[in-house]
Assembly symmetry: C2
Homo-oligomer: 124 residues x 2
DNA sequence: GTTCGCCTTCAACATATGTTGAAGTCAAGC
DNA sequence: GCTTGACTTCAACATATGTTGAAGGCGAAC
């Protein structure tokens, strides 16, 4: 007797449900699927069905976009996530995203610091 | 007798010179001027002439774009820079940009941390 | 077994960030 | 004072990130 607990791996959510969960438009959900941020199965009638992680991926993607990552880059980071991600899988992805954000901030700081301390200041 | 030292404030550089200094295409230099990242005077013959800070502003803008700031946002930050910016003016701008980058990274960390520790994990 | 809301695709539009090319002008060196 | 390379504008194109609308199909509830 298999557990009925339907957790991740069950592709049951419609585009509209995921959109509402993630706080984006349905068109955006389709866009993210086309670009590999989320994955879907199809019903017999060709409608998309998403699993529970879809809205989460989208929310993370929106925050990651704010630190300069492109949709393509985010999709590449998410490629690390198995179909049914465990918390440690999310942990790895989180570390990856944070490291990237910090690297970019470090690059900004380095450039500005160089400007400030360099013999040849930018403006002066 | 005024000093001949031509520092910032002298609008003498052509589009091509600024482009070469900043490591971007001439078309990008015109784009950044249109969008308020840099300012230009015009010759009698209507050609643009930039000051020494132009290439610097562009380089800073490129790094700032990597941490998720839009051209419009960068232009707003640069609005703080007087025509002939002193090091402390650049310092203020630098602090502003770094603070913005760190705020966005903090938002990313907060969201990911919440996901990890929240009772309702994203995926599980 | 019909209805009605949500789903499908596809193309057009919208904004951000640029690049390219055509047609013509400017300016610096010879 | 010509020549020539770099400049001008403007429109079209290109890519990223979506939204909107038309025309039609699916599915759950009654």
């Amino acid at each position: 007797m298999t557990a009925v607990t339907q957790h991740s791996g069950a592709f049951t959510l419609t585009v509209g449900e995921v959109a509402a969960d993630a706080g984006v438009a349905a068109s955006a959900v389709r866009f993210y699927e086309q670009h590999g941020i989320i994955r879907a199965e199809r019903t017999a009638g060709d409608q998309r069905r998403f699993d529970e992680s879809a809205a989460c991926r989208i929310r993370v993607a929106k925050v990651a976009q704010r630190v300069g990552l492109t949709v393509r880059e985010i999709a590449e980071v998410f490629a690390d996530l198995p179909a049914d991600p465990r918390p440690q899988d999310w942990g790895r992805v989180a570390e990856h995203l944070i490291a990237e954000a910090e690297a970019r901030t470090a690059a900004l700081k380095a450039y500005l610091g160089e400007m400030r301390s360099g013999a040849k200041l930018c403006d002066l």
